[in-house]
Symmetry: C2
Subunit: 319 residues, 2 copies
């Protein structure tokens, strides 16, 4: 099977953009929603990110899986030019996560976590990837994120993601990472936990003092906002879906769309960040329409264009 977007997006254009590296998890997720339960579907921050970013530009993955990982199911990533040389396949089982969402997807509960091979994940960056221009530090232990940063040779832009678990239990290491990155993407709960400010805007200001120049607030069905330490503020609604199947990976694919777009346009200024926020929002809107990477694996350029145009219209106030 040949995926249409591959041709459309960069085989024909054949443009070399900023290179992207993602380091994160690869997982098999068991997900319960109000309506369905799906077992062992492909997930993890690195794979969601790569599936999204690869719509815009080639991307390289560093992650670990066990021998049980159904590698053929991510063949589409290779077809899109994803460099999987850093995806280590080791003895043992792949990291598994199980979670359950409430009816309106506003809360999720972790049902189980089996780290398996992920427990001893040692993210050694292959030599040829250490010069990557853009880096996404997906949700892994902050100490490992620091270790990744140390191996890199002056990336142009580093985007960080984290979760409640590390904010609560690995605060010191996490603050060390935060001090070294350009941008951080968080939801409102994470922002409040990290800063201890209940007001999101005050909280965002306080994060600038920790180091990052850019903070992206993920607001789920309410969209996303972008804040810079130069007082710039930009907001986008979520694409107004009438059905959501599974929100897992929305944040990682949002980050993938964001960095993928930055890489594609090879710019790191406010206008580029705004376009990147739009790309991330659009990609995430497709992610949540299926379990796992399913919908992400079939997105076409036309799909992206339709929702991009729709969202641009939804923030247009002129006649």
């Amino acid at each position: 099977m040949v995926y249409p977007y591959v041709e459309l997006l960069y085989r024909k254009e054949c443009k070399v953009s900023y290179s992207i590296l993602v380091v994160g998890s690869a997982a098999l997720d068991t997900i319960e929603t109000y309506q369905t339960k799906v077992e062992d579907c492909i997930g993890g921050s690195a794979l969601y990110f790569a599936a999204a970013a690869s719509l815009f530009t080639p991307v390289a993955v560093v992650a670990v899986v066990g021998k049980d990982f159904p590698i053929d199911q991510i063949h589409f990533l290779r077809q899109r030019g994803v460099d999987l040389s850093g995806l280590n396949i080791v003895e043992g089982l792949t990291f598994r996560w199980g979670g359950r969402y409430d009816r309106d997807f506003t809360h999720r509960e972790t049902l189980f976590t089996a780290l398996n091979t992920f427990e001893t994940f040692n993210p050694i960056i292959p030599q040829h990837l250490r010069k990557s221009d853009l880096l996404f530090l997906g949700n892994i232990l902050p100490e490992l994120q620091l270790f990744v940063l140390k191996q890199m040779e002056k990336p142009k832009f580093v985007l960080l993601d984290t979760i409640r678990l590390w904010i609560e239990n690995e605060r010191k290491a996490l603050l060390d990472v935060i001090a070294k990155v350009d941008a951080i993407v968080l939801n409102d709960e994470e922002i409040r936990l990290l800063t201890d400010y209940s007001n999101i805007n005050k909280a965002v200001k306080s994060i600038f003092k920790l180091g990052p120049k850019l903070v992206i607030v993920k607001r789920g069905e309410n969209g996303a906002t972008l804040h810079t330490n130069q007082n710039d503020f930009f907001a986008l609604p979520a694409y107004p879906l009438e059905e959501v199947e599974d929100p897992t990976g929305a944040g990682d694919s949002f980050a993938g769309g964001f960095l993928g777009k930055l890489a594609q346009i090879e710019q790191l200024n406010l206008f580029a960040f705004k376009q990147a926020l739009l790309a991330g929002t659009v990609v995430a809107s497709y992610t949540v329409q299926s379990f796992g990477l399913q919908r992400l694996s079939t997105i076409t350029l036309q799909d992206l264009q339709i929702r991009t145009d729709y969202l641009l219209q939804s923030i247009l106030i002129s006649r």
Copy 2:
């Protein structure tokens, strides 16, 4: 004291726009926040609405208060040209409401409700107000909202507000009202309760089948979205405040800014609705910076302009 905006906004321009009538509550609120407690501050849907709408255009109020109501504290409304001939002052005490907000203002708890004179509120519309062009049905018993509608002579546009209490306990009468109005303003919790859809966008679609052509979703710190039965969708973020003092009245003053702007520009089309959403968002951002009507009573045209420009910038994606 003469308020600067009166001159600026319409004494000098002296333009007669669409007339607005609001029917709702006038109250004395006791509000507890994480930091402060304030007793008997002026509130109620009709007064918050009037304080906001009167920044754009004259407005008439129908409501009831007791003899204990500190009428001098709303003198500024008269100075702004608000028609208070429909504000009935009757024997007895004014409606009192007490509520407490949690630290990040995401939840509020009603501590007490003393209806007092509001219990026998019979909203007879003075003859000269029955021809009003625009009508805001503030949060009162749906049966009374129906009674108001019956007295009106073909208003051009009716905006409805309601609360959880009536959605749960007065559903039949409420559905009757909803069938007769042009637009409804609700928060996400109210939308889910009203429609029994957990997905907001699906819920909004189902509301169009009940009658309204326009649904406005109030999303608190995440802004507001506007949806039409013609599939138009427009989104605005909230103005990014770093301090909120008291969110009481945010929704009513948002509605006031919305209808006030529609009246001022004398248009009832998508472009007008978008501008109105912006005006409502801006006014509400000032409302929450003080308890009661305090900040609303001192807003200047310049204040409105500054935040309007800021929000326009925050949805501008071009260079």
